[in-house]
C-alpha cells in the first residue's frame, strides 16, 4: 500500500525541527524510517507533516562523557555495531545493534527512532533498560532527562510527549571486569526475537557474584528489568541461573500471543535468561 498524503519538512538542525514541531498540530519526526515508513505504507500512521531529521548532524555521533557513552539519537545501528569506541566501551550495545534486522535496515535505522518506536522485542530498548540508560528529551519548551525504565510504558508507547525530540541516550559504563551476555531466539536471523534476554555480571576475587543485572524482551509489552539483588553472593552456575530464571519469569505478566501461548513464552524467556547469564559469567573477570 501507499501512504496517505503528508507535507514534508527537511529540518536543517534540531532547533529548526523543534520550531516546526511547535507550530504543527499533527506532525511526526522521521529518522531512519525503518519503522515509520512501514506504518505509513500500511496507513497505521497518518501524520499531516513529516519532519525529517536526517540532516541534523548534531544529533548523530558517540561521545565519551561522565560515566558513560552519550549516543546521539540519529546514530545509525550500523555505526553502533562497528564503531571502535562503542565496541570497546560498551560491547554489549555494539553486539545488540549488530543483530538488528539486516544490513540495509541497520544502515538507516537509528537509536532515537528505535527508542521512540518502543517495540517490545527491539534490542536497543532492551539494552537501555538493562543498563539504566538515561534518555535526553527536548521540545521547544525545554529539556528533560528520563531513565529508560520510566520511558518505556507499553508496546509502541513511551513517556515521550508527541512534540518531544529524543536527542540522545547515555549508556553508563560497565564496571571493570563485568561480563555481559545477550541471548535472542529468532525464527529467522534478523527477525524480531520471540524471546530475548540480556545480562551483566560482576564477580569478586573468590568468584562470587557482587553485581548482577538482567532484563528480558519480547515476552511482555515492554522490556522488563528483573530484580537480581538476590543473586549477590551466589556462585555462578547452571542451578543458580535456572532457579533465578524460573522465579523471574513466574513474576512477569506474560500473556498468550498469536501462535504462542503464555507458558511457552515463559519457558523461552527463562531459557534466554539462563543463556544470557551463562554468556555473561563466561566473560566476567574476577576483581582483584
Amino acid at each position: 500500500m501507499k501512504p496517505a498524503p503528508f507535507a514534508y519538512h527537511r529540518a536543517a538542525d534540531a532547533t529548526d525541527a523543534l520550531a516546526v514541531m511547535a507550530g504543527a498540530s499533527d506532525a511526526a519526526f522521521l529518522s531512519g524510517g525503518q519503522s515509520l515508513a512501514p506504518m505509513l505504507n500500511l496507513r497505521m500512521a497518518r501524520p499531516a507533516l513529516l519532519i525529517d531529521l536526517n540532516d541534523c548532524a548534531e544529533l548523530s555521533g558517540v561521545t565519551l562523557g561522565d560515566g558513560g557513552l552519550r549516543i546521539g539519537a540519529l546514530t545509525r545501528h550500523h555505526h553502533l555495531a562497528t564503531d571502535a569506541t562503542v565496541r570497546s566501551r560498551h560491547p554489549l550495545l555494539a553486539e545488540a545493534a549488530a543483530t538488528i534486522g539486516s544490513d540495509a535496515i541497520r544502515r538507516r535505522g537509528t537509536l532515537g527512532g528505535s527508542l521512540a518506536h518502543a517495540d517490545p522485542a527491539a534490542q536497543l530498548p532492551l539494552i537501555a533498560t538493562l543498563c539504566g540508560a538515561v534518555i535526553a528529551l527536548q521540545s521547544a519548551r525545554g529539556a528533560r532527562m528520563i531513565e529508560a525504565d520510566d520511558f518505556f510504558v507499553s508496546a509502541l508507547e513511551t513517556a515521550r510527549e508527541p512534540n518531544e525530540l529524543v536527542v540522545a541516550a547515555t549508556f553508563p559504563d560497565l564496571a571493570p571486569a563485568t561480563g555481559w551476555g545477550l541471548a535472542q531466539l529468532c525464527k529467522v536471523a534478523g527477525d524480531f526475537a520471540v524471546a530475548s534476554a540480556a545480562a551483566t555480571l560482576a564477580l569478586d576475587g573468590a568468584g562470587a557474584i557482587v553485581d548482577a543485572r538482567l532484563a528480558v524482551g519480547a515476552v511482555c509489552d515492554r522490556p522488563m528489568a528483573l530484580d537480581a539483588a538476590g543473586l549477590r553472593g551466589a556462585r555462578p552456575g547452571p542451578d543458580v541461573f535456572e532457579d533465578f530464571a524460573m522465579a523471574a519469569v513466574g513474576a512477569l505478566d506474560i500473556a498468550d500471543a498469536p501462535g504462542i501461548d503464555a507458558d511457552d513464552r515463559r519457558d523461552l524467556a527463562a531459557a534466554m535468561i539462563v543463556e544470557a547469564m551463562t554468556r555473561a559469567a563466561a566473560r566476567a573477570g574476577r576483581a582483584a
Binding site: 500500500m1 501507499k2 501512504p3 496517505a4 498524503p5 503528508f6 507535507a7 514534508y8 527537511r10 522521521l30 524510517g33 525503518q34 515508513a37 512501514p38 505509513l40 505504507n41 500500511l42 513529516l50 525529517d52 536526517n54 550500523h78 534486522g101 539486516s102 544490513d103 540495509a104 535496515i105 544502515r107 538507516r108 529467522v188 536471523a189 534478523g190
Partner: protein, 159 residues
C-alpha cells in the same frame, strides 16, 4: 497534496522531478526514471527486492520517500553491468544458476555488491547472514550462496 520539486541523482544521471512527498523512492525510480530493475515485493522492508545503494550503502527504496533524496547519490541494478559487461557477482549468479524468476535478484545484487567490497574473502556463514535480508521464493538459496563465493573468488583474481 502539493507536489514539490526534487532532483534525483541516479546512476550518475540527474532527474528533475515534481513529486508528492508521499511518493516512495521505489515508485519514483520505477515510474519517473523508468528503472524497473527496482522490484517491489512487500513495501514493508522485509523482502529486500527494492534494495538500492544510497551514497554507497544498501537501503530499502520502499522505506524512503523520494523527496528525502535531494543531494544523495542513488545506484540501482541498472548501473552494475558496466558497458554491457557483467559484474563478477552477476557473472557468478549466471554460472551457478543463482536465479530462477529473477524477482529477488536486483535487490540482493545491490546488497552483495556493497557487502563484497567490505568482505572480499567471506566464509559461508557470513554470506548466509548477509543474504538473510533477502527473500527468494525460487532457488532455496544454495545456488545464491555458491554464486557469492564464486564472485568473491573472481573479484580477487581480477584484482
Amino acid at each position: 497534496m502539493k507536489r514539490v520539486p526534487v532532483t534525483l541523482d541516479v546512476n550518475g544521471e540527474s532527474h528533475a522531478l515534481s513529486l508528492e512527498p508521499r511518493r516512495l523512492l521505489s515508485d519514483a525510480l520505477r515510474e519517473e526514471c523508468g528503472l524497473t530493475g527496482v522490484h517491489v515485493g512487500c513495501e514493508n522492508g522485509v523482502c529486500g527486492a527494492c534494495t538500492v545503494l544510497i551514497d554507497g550503502a544498501p537501503a530499502r527504496a520502499c522505506l524512503i520517500f523520494a523527496v528525502q533524496m535531494q543531494g544523495h547519490a542513488i545506484a540501482t541494478i541498472e548501473s552494475v553491468a558496466r558497458g554491457g559487461a557483467l559484474s563478477p557477482l552477476q557473472q557468478a549468479l549466471h554460472e551457478e544458476h543463482g536465479l530462477q524468476c529473477g524477482f529477488c535478484t536486483p535487490g540482493l545484487v545491490m546488497t552483495m555488491e556493497a557487502w563484497l567490497k567490505d568482505n572480499p574473502d567471506p566464509d559461508e556463514t557470513a554470506i548466509r547472514a548477509a543474504l538473510s535480508g533477502h527473500l527468494c521464493r525460487c532457488t532455496g538459496y544454495q545456488s545464491i550462496v555458491a554464486a557469492v563465493k564464486r564472485a568473491a573468488r573472481i573479484a580477487r583474481e581480477r584484482a
